[in-house]
Symmetry: C2
Subunit: 168 residues, 2 copies
């Protein structure tokens, strides 16, 4: 098998994994909607990293339009997961603040280990970890090359989220 074919195979398998993962979440886990890393979940994620950000700043960090940010923030306000306060320095600015319920929502979303991971041995877990790290590092590099600010922000976001356990 040539390397090119092999790479294509992996690309396919990665895609398969991603697609399956969505279905898996639907079928197996009863994933709570606000805890995905989209829309409202994205906002919570960014606030978990740093609270009291302006909507503008959230939009920038998350790489989405301020209008969408506004929409999701508004929804989170409705669910009492965040509050809005006007910045005292600049009254144009709406600071977005996590409520205790919001903080709880994030906490409870802490790493749930999907059942399928059980099939990997300790050694395999190590291998996978190192491979994933290589891949994501390369992805960050590419994203960074295309849009340096976004790349950095995302990296920060994800590491604060997914490496949390080491900080404890």
């Amino acid at each position: 098998m040539t390397n090119k074919i092999k790479a294509e195979l992996i690309a396919g398998k990665l895609t398969e994994y991603e697609q399956l993962s969505k279905i898996y979440d639907d079928v197996i886990k009863q994933a709570r909607p606000r805890l995905t890393v989209e829309g409202q979940g994205k906002i919570l994620l960014a606030l978990a990293d740093e609270d009291h950000l302006s909507q503008r700043e959230l939009a920038t960090r998350l790489g989405m339009s301020p209008q969408s940010t506004s929409e999701f923030v508004y929804k989170l306000v409705k669910y009492n997961l965040v509050t809005l306060t006007k910045s005292p320095n600049d009254r144009r600015i709406n600071l977005v603040n996590l409520t205790s319920a919001g903080r709880e929502e994030i906490e409870s979303a802490a790493q749930e280990v999907p059942p399928f991971i059980r099939v990997l041995s300790d050694t395999e877990l190590d291998q996978l970890s190192s491979l994933l790290t290589k891949i994501t590092t390369a992805m960050y590099t590419d994203i960074d090359a295309a849009n340096s600010t976004l790349g950095i922000k995302l990296h920060k976001l994800f590491s604060s989220r997914y490496l949390k356990q080491f900080k404890k």
Copy 2:
């Protein structure tokens, strides 16, 4: 590091990969919308596996509602990627058929290897391949346990798609 922590770490990394992957597609590849494995793309995928299916059958294989299926099929008709023909045996049935343009769309979507894969050595590709296979196999098992028909259909779909290169 205990095995539990390790598993959590991997779970996090997998999530990170999935999230990054979305962003990566947006930022790096200028992914053609109809070729994703959602909505219209899902329909094309199923038709690539087997042409001339009824909408009902498509809905079942893809695990989505017949109404959604109808919507996406209709869109594909608008784009001239599929046509509809009434079944001669049962005039309630609309058979969905790929047009040559539709077939072309699928062909051209053939495995594009994302640039980040370049960072893996040959050995690492092999490792990753075997790990992913273990994971997806476990996922199929779990999905199957929850909903056996869906699991089987999906497996068929994905293998015909991603293992295509071996058949050639």
